[in-house]
């Protein structure tokens, strides 16, 4: 395992402290129980958005805390959902009187822990489940995982909350965004959880894992390593099957890196994905390319497409000031 680590036990806390210091203008860190909350004052009555999940996906979610996006994020241990006491403390700390919306990626652990926190919370609250991973069938077992589409959901709903949408409206909008979003990823290498010290799975020099989640879980299938073009074709076909974007449909195209893949490759993937959809006259109205929902040091990426309506487009463009996304201010 080749990582920058001081002690395995301190890995997460030292990283969080570094994050909070590097962005001390944007966030506060509560060390115990662990959560990150925004520094920017919020209007009284603003809906508070609280998200979280296992660590190892940075900048998700801590890097999305700030004006126009999340009010708080709860980082769990690496690839392990956070605990209800974190979520409860975070919700109480950022309650502006407008209720709390928990944004939860669809994993058993996250769902149950957030559920327990919600049951313990006195303030009005609701939950929004993100399940954008179309590598999986919709109605099997737990359904679909939440992956890189989470960034899109948190940005758009974050702008809505900032603009004064109430709890029910935030949730309804969030569900519309989730419904309009489809993602799928591919891993070229596995990743190494520090405390485990070896890769989650083995991939041969000429293999790739198609349809992976973001926890180093194995994916939908093991395939022969394809060219970038073949990979884009494969993923885009699955996404198209789901979203059926029509000619003229405005979309957001998000190419997300898994942590070990450099920008030069992500931009190449973006070019090929752009070619795919613009070739079908889909209107690529907005784009986001970079490492946003990562799996530690995994080499790989995912494509996410969101069908945008005018409201979503306006909210996507609204000012945001977080560690990982910033524009308009």
């Amino acid at each position: 395992m080749k990582k920058f680590i001081d002690t395995i036990d301190g890995f997460l806390d030292e990283s969080l402290r570094g994050f909070a210091k590097a962005h001390a203008d944007i966030v506060d860190l509560s060390p115990e129980p662990r959560f990150v909350s925004r520094k920017a004052p919020a209007k009284p009555g603003k809906v508070a958005l609280v998200s979280g999940g296992g660590s190892g996906h940075e900048p998700l979610h801590t890097g999305f805390v700030g004006l126009g996006m999340l009010d708080a994020a709860c980082p769990g241990e690496v690839f392990t959902s956070p605990t209800p006491d974190q979520m409860l403390a975070a919700a109480q700390a950022v309650d502006h009187g407008g209720g709390i919306l928990f944004i939860v990626k669809n994993y058993a652990g996250d769902v149950m822990n957030f559920e327990i926190a919600a049951e313990m919370l006195d303030a009005p609250h609701d939950s929004l489940l993100v399940h954008d991973d179309v590598s999986l069938p919709e109605n099997r077992g737990m359904g679909r995982r939440g992956i890189a589409g989470t960034t899109v959901v948190e940005k758009i709903v974050g702008a809505a909350a900032e603009a004064g949408y109430d709890l029910a409206a935030c949730k309804a909008l969030g569900e519309r965004v989730v419904h309009a979003t489809a993602s799928m990823g591919v891993a070229l290498t596995s990743c190494t959880v520090p405390a485990l010290g070896k890769p989650m799975f083995d991939l041969g020099e000429r293999e790739m894992e198609m349809g992976v989640g973001i926890h180093g879980e194995r994916g939908r299938e093991r395939m022969a390593l394809g060219s970038a073009g073949e990979i884009v074709d494969y993923i885009a076909a699955v996404i198209d099957d789901e979203l059926q974007p029509q000619p003229g449909q405005p979309v957001l195209l998000h190419v997300n890196g898994f942590g070990g893949t450099p920008l030069i490759e992500l931009h190449l993937m973006y070019e090929l994905a752009h070619r795919h959809w613009s070739g079908r006259s889909v209107d690529i109205a907005r784009s986001l390319v970079g490492n946003f929902t990562t799996s530690l040091d995994m080499a790989g990426c995912s494509l996410t497409l969101t069908r945008l309506d005018e409201e979503m487009l306006r909210l996507w463009d609204a000012p945001v000031h977080t560690a990982a996304l910033r524009w308009g201010c």
Partner: protein, 212 residues
């Protein structure tokens, strides 16, 4: 059956050393069809319990179980943290104002497992730790009905746990992370089933030894 929670430190110790002994094996299971953290999660919880075991053992059973549940809930994380937390908190509730004896324990455990089923929206046959815990709850009840001796009781519980664990091997998972793998999960025992079986057997052994 012990009437006081003074056994708790040795029960925690027993569960912890069972996990420690089989750490690599269980991690390999969670790595194969989960995300590899299950042992780490449990160990974090067991460490937290070990640190508090003395003070917990000074409480009465309902309070002790509730405290165990809260401690696990806020230290383990993941799917197993919420589920084990739920189990113990529900057991504590079930024993409220009731004596700790074998029938009441069996009943409390069954209620704990019911609470887990509700929390996880899961039941037998979904390739989870419930495939161990449900049969164990049944075995505990049946042992009470048949007034089995302690060694017999330990034996039946351990065998129920083991059979439940083994039954997960050929299942397709419909809950938890392994459900994302579909057919690819067949042939692998569920990590949570294996770890719960290991801990239950270890705890049963400690109880049996103490009652000898």
């Amino acid at each position: 059956m012990p009437a006081t929670p003074h056994l708790i430190p040795s029960l925690v110790q027993g569960a912890a050393s069972a996990i420690q002994t089989h750490a690599e094996e269980v991690t390999a299971l969670d790595r194969a069809i989960g995300d590899g953290d299950h042992v780490l999660n449990l160990q974090r919880g067991l460490d937290a319990l070990a640190k508090q075991a003395e003070s917990i053992s000074a409480l009465d059973w309902p309070a002790a179980l509730q405290k165990i549940g809260m401690t696990l809930m806020s230290s383990v994380g993941g799917a197993s943290g919420s589920l084990y937390g739920t189990l113990f908190i529900a057991m504590g509730k079930a024993l409220k104002d009731r004596e700790m004896n074998r029938p009441n324990l069996a009943e409390a455990f069954a209620q704990g497992v019911e609470a887990m089923k509700a929390r996880g929206k899961a039941d037998l046959g979904e390739k989870t730790m419930l495939d161990v815990l449900i049969p164990v709850a049944d075995a505990l009840r049946s042992a009470v009905e048949r007034s089995l001796s302690v060694p017999q009781w330990v034996d039946e519980v351990s065998r129920a746990a083991e059979a439940g664990m083994e039954s997960t091997r050929d299942m397709i998972a419909t809950k938890g992370r392994a459900s994302f793998l579909g057919e690819r999960a067949i042939g692998h025992v569920d990590a949570g089933a294996r770890s719960s079986q290991l801990m239950i057997s270890a705890i049963a052994e400690v109880l049996a030894a103490k009652s000898r």
